[in-house]
Amino acid sequence: MKKSLLLLFLVVILATLPLITQQGTEFGGADGEAEEAITKIHPEYKPWFNSIWEPPGAETESLLFALQAAIGAGFIGYFIGVMKQRNKQTKQELAEKSKHVTH
């Protein structure tokens, strides 16, 4: 448990350090920017296939990304709960069994 917290803390540091060391950047994902810039500099270029649906704006996109993370996190939380409960139960059963044996 302590080890896990330490590792999670390291991850947080790895993610926040760039925010301090790299000032004056928006940390863009760059693929959208690049797409825009390519069509701006090279207007005759057209990607031969376009996304069948695109989120209308940054808000909707962030909603969907948050949803994706939430689904993942939700299941992981459920998993941890189920497994801890199962662990408790088997321990109890073992304890009861050993009681019967000794009596």
Binding site: V11, G28, G29, D31, E35, I38, I71, G72
Partner: protein, 247 residues
């Protein structure tokens, strides 16, 4: 005519990315020439079929491992949704496929990873359907296989379980980006220096951004694996994740 077009596009892309610019991980919709898009789809398809079979047989033999498969998928879902800032001043996201590759084998993850990529391509316009074959090959085929072999290798060398898990997840993550660089370099070879020149450019950009994220993914995978070791020892043994010494 078409060829020169692609060469121009390639140089435009290069010029854009040289000053501290990194591509997001997935190749954008329509941004691979059609012949390459078809090629990568053809390469990936057999892995998907084998992966589906692998999952089906593993779940049939050990139905109690279904929850672990769900966890592997959930881990990919959450990690590939997190766009994390990196030292290069741009953001990228981890892949999360290392965990499932160690648990269920690389073939199973080709299916799980592709499902996540499909979700992102259809709902988020992140990556694309035409480039899904290429993106799945890098993230859902190569990443898992690298992770799997690194884990097996490190275990064989007698390194600790946690270290093996960390290295597997981190290199699987990093390897995905190296493969993406190869794919882009193959599709857009440099006029001077050809494939190698553009590969070193793309890889230089990708690898730098990804290194801290690969470390993060390694650490997170160790955290989850430690939990599994504590509460799911039975399943880990069924899936033959733990070597004899570690048991």
């Amino acid at each position: 005519m078409k060829r020169t077009n692609w060469k121009i596009i390639y140089f435009v892309i290069l010029l854009l990315f040289v000053p501290k610019r990194a591509l997001a991980m997935h190749i954008m919709e329509g941004f691979l020439p059609i012949e390459w898009a078809i090629f990568w789809w053809a390469v990936t398809l057999p892995f998907l079929i084998l992966g589906y079979r692998s999952i089906r047989s593993k779940v049939r033999v050990n139905p109690e491992t279904k929850m672990i498969l769900g966890l592997s998928g959930a881990f990919v879902f959450i990690l590939s949704a997190l766009k994390i800032p990196s030292v290069t001043g741009s953001s990228s996201h981890p892949t999360g496929v290392g965990l499932g590759s160690i648990l269920f084998g690389p073939l199973a993850m080709s299916v799980v990873g592709s499902i996540v990529l499909l979700f992102q391509a259809v709902l988020l316009a992140h990556g694309g359907l035409t480039t899904l074959g290429a993106n799945a090959f890098s993230m859902a085929v190569c990443g898992p296989f690298i992770a799997y072999f690194v884990f097996k290798g490190a275990t064989k060398l007698g390194w600790s379980f946690s270290l093996a898990v960390f290295l597997a997840a981190a290199f699987g993550d990093l390897g995905t980006y190296v493969v993406t660089s190869v794919q882009l370099a193959l599709a857009f070879p440099s006029e001077v220096g050809g494939f190698m020149a553009s590969f070193s450019k793309f890889a230089g950009i990708f690898a730098l951004t990804q290194i801290p994220l690969a470390i993060s993914e390694g650490l997170l995978t160790v955290v989850v694996m430690n939990f599994l070791k504590k509460y799911n020892l039975g399943e880990l043994k069924l899936l033959r994740v733990l070597s004899k010494e570690a048991r």
